[in-house]
């Protein structure tokens, strides 16, 4: 399986899966380019767990505090998860 890489110069090509999440040199301009993807299974499990956790928290907040609590709590949790994602 191959993974997409897109350089800032506009060139699009495919690289080996080993390079997922890493860097490779663009065949056109030669500059280091980010390769898409985080392939490790743990990362997918973490993503799934975060999504499931968010849904559970929102449902619990809705049941206990009503729609406003669910909205605010859900937004706050989404912001925290977004921050964690940005740190990666």
């Amino acid at each position: 399986m191959q993974i997409r890489a897109r350089c800032a110069c506009g060139h699009l090509w495919y690289v080996a899966q080993d390079l997922a999440g890493g860097l490779t040199n663009c065949p056109r301009c030669g500059k280091a380019t980010q390769v898409d993807g985080l392939r490790d299974p743990l990362w997918r499990v973490l993503q799934g767990a975060a999504a499931l956790g968010w849904v559970v928290v929102v449902v619990l907040l809705y049941a206990n505090t009503g729609p406003l609590g669910a909205l605010l709590g859900g937004a706050a949790l989404a912001a925290i998860l977004g921050l964690i994602y940005l740190m990666m």
Binding site: L23, T24, N25, A32, W43, M87
Partner: protein
């Protein structure tokens, strides 16, 4: 190219007190500062930046992990001056359990050298008896010829690593340096 990548000998010193992340100074044999390295804090993916000095105005090299958690973690190295990937270093997952082992890859991800802890016996002593025993790594090309040595100095508090390059033409010296910094950052953190 920075003077750092033209020298055959230099040493890396881990800064003792750093609030977040980790910092390293790179010195020439005459103790002249060659580079300052900063390991970013709060990053789930390892991110190490090398600068000319502590002012961090002139970047020299970046070392970035490909994955957040990876058994055989690979780290790409990019020359910050021209933005070109110079190589990568990959930890040998299973081999590193009892004895640290890495492999150095070229820009096309092909293995060009291996980095192995000096001996099984010493590696076991470091793991199960005392991690105060300094580490020593041999960098060998694909023919088994020694091209560089990383030797940790005995110091229970501050991690210091002497780097000696025997053959400058075998592997890009920037990749050798990046590997030495990685070993200081990652192996140093384990001890």
């Amino acid at each position: 190219m920075s003077k750092l990548f033209e020298l055959d000998r230099y040493w890396i010193r881990r800064k003792f007190l750093t609030l977040f992340g980790a910092s390293f100074h790179v010195y020439a044999p005459d103790d002249q500062l060659l580079a300052f390295t900063r390991q970013k804090a709060f990053k789930l993916k390892e991110d190490i930046r090398v600068f000319e000095d502590e002012a961090k105005q002139v970047p020299l090299l970046t070392v970035q992990a490909r994955q957040i958690v990876d058994f055989s973690a690979a780290y790409d190295m990019v020359d910050a001056v021209d933005g070109v990937k110079v190589g990568a270093t990959r930890r040998k997952g299973w081999s590193s359990f009892l004895r640290d082992a890495w492999e150095v890859l070229d820009a096309d991800d092909l293995p060009v050298a291996s980095v192995v802890e000096d001996s099984h016996g010493m590696a076991l002593v470091r793991r199960f008896v005392s991690n105060l025993v300094p580490q020593r790594f041999e960098v060998k090309d694909t023919n088994g010829r020694s091209i560089a040595t990383f030797k940790q100095r005995f110091n229970p508090f501050i991690h210091k690593l002497d780097v000696t390059i025997h053959d400058r033409n075998a592997v890009d010296p920037r990749a050798i340096f990046g590997t030495a910094v990685l070993i200081s950052a990652i192996e140093g953190r384990q001890s």
